[in-house]
Amino acid sequence: MTEARTPLWEVFIRSRNGLSHRHVGSVHAADAIMALSAARDVYTRRGEGLSIWVVPSAAITASDPADRDMLFEPAASKIYRHPTFYEVPDEVGHM
């Protein structure tokens, strides 16, 4: 089967109630229903999931790796954005 007939789909699985869907991998399939079926057969064999999303890989717009410095480097020097300077009173417990 050709790539055109069976395009790539990204697979997201939700493992338990309360947790969000996580990207687990990708499958080739002719359409959305077959992609769900393939995702079920490839990625939930050991009871990993309660819910599956499939998304056409072509629908994902990705950042360019060449832009990495421009996009992400400026955040590296701004440590004050991390909330690590606050003292949490004991009475608050776990946040």
Partner: protein, 247 residues
């Protein structure tokens, strides 16, 4: 009664094991990685069903363990449907066979989950969930093969035509004593549900239903096609060469 019940369990277990083994023959040869895993999953479902049915038969009277029932009986002692022992053929034959059987097995196990026998009812309830997926998976593929390219349509119609004479055997009468005791559903009563499923999927797949003509029979009595003996020879070779070995 226990002989009749064991015979019922063996018929249904043999169905599951033979089809499960046929599907497992695709391992390493499926058209795509995704379908490779899908077919192996289906095979494991069926082999699991066979194991629980053999184990129940063993505990209720046959006296042999599940391995002996699977690996040490000859083709004449197997009572599976002829449909399920036919070679896989191409992907269209494999999918069409799976669909035609799952469209029967799904309502069968659903009805059997109301069996008066609690153990059989529990096995049936588990099997029904698995078989429901077998039906969905094979129906989706059948629709895409039938309504796909002219080549896939031609091959799928040919597969249906070849398999059709083997579908009548599914509806042959079950043991009247077990049916009367509400232990087992009567297969003939499932024909309407099967017809409805098959008609709907074939219509969507733009495939035509072959005419109901003369139907093959004999599997339930141990009279098989020439294919089962060869399949069992491979399936049983390790168990027969190394009896009772464990790994």
């Amino acid at each position: 009664m226990s002989d009749r019940f064991s015979a019922l369990l063996l018929r249904r277990a043999d169905d599951a094991l033979v089809l499960g083994h046929r599907l497992s023959e695709w391992t390493g040869q499926a058209p795509t990685l995704e379908e490779e895993l899908a077919l192996a999953n289906l095979a494991l479902d069926l082999i699991g069903q066979a194991r629980t049915l053999y184990a129940l038969a063993a505990s209720r009277g046959t006296g042999e363990d599940e391995d002996a029932l699977a690996y040490l009986r000859s083709d004449r002692e197997y009572t599976n449907l002829l449909l399920l022992e036919l070679p896989n053929g191409d992907f269209a034959v494999t999918i069409a066979r799976l669909f035609l059987y799952a469209a029967f097995a799904d309502p069968f196990w659903r009805a059997a989950s109301a069996s008066r026998d609690g153990d059989l009812a529990a096995i049936a309830a588990k099997a029904e969930k698995e078989t429901a997926y077998h039906l969905r998976h094979s129906a989706e593929w059948l629709i895409r093969l039938g309504d796909g390219t002219s080549e896939s349509h031609r091959r799928t119609q040919a597969a249906l035509n070849r398999l059709w004479p083997y579908t009548g055997e599914m509806f042959e009468a079950e043991d009247i004593v077990l049916v009367a005791a509400d232990i087992c559903p009567e297969p003939a009563g499932l024909r309407d549900a099967w017809n409805a499923t098959v008609e709907a999927v074939l219509a969507e797949a733009t495939l035509s239903r072959p005419p109901d003509g003369w139907m093959q029979s004999g599997g339930r009595a141990g009279r098989h096609t020439e294919h089962l003996g060869h399949m069992l020879a491979v399936m049983q070779s390790v168990a027969r060469a190394f009896p009772k070995s464990q790994w």
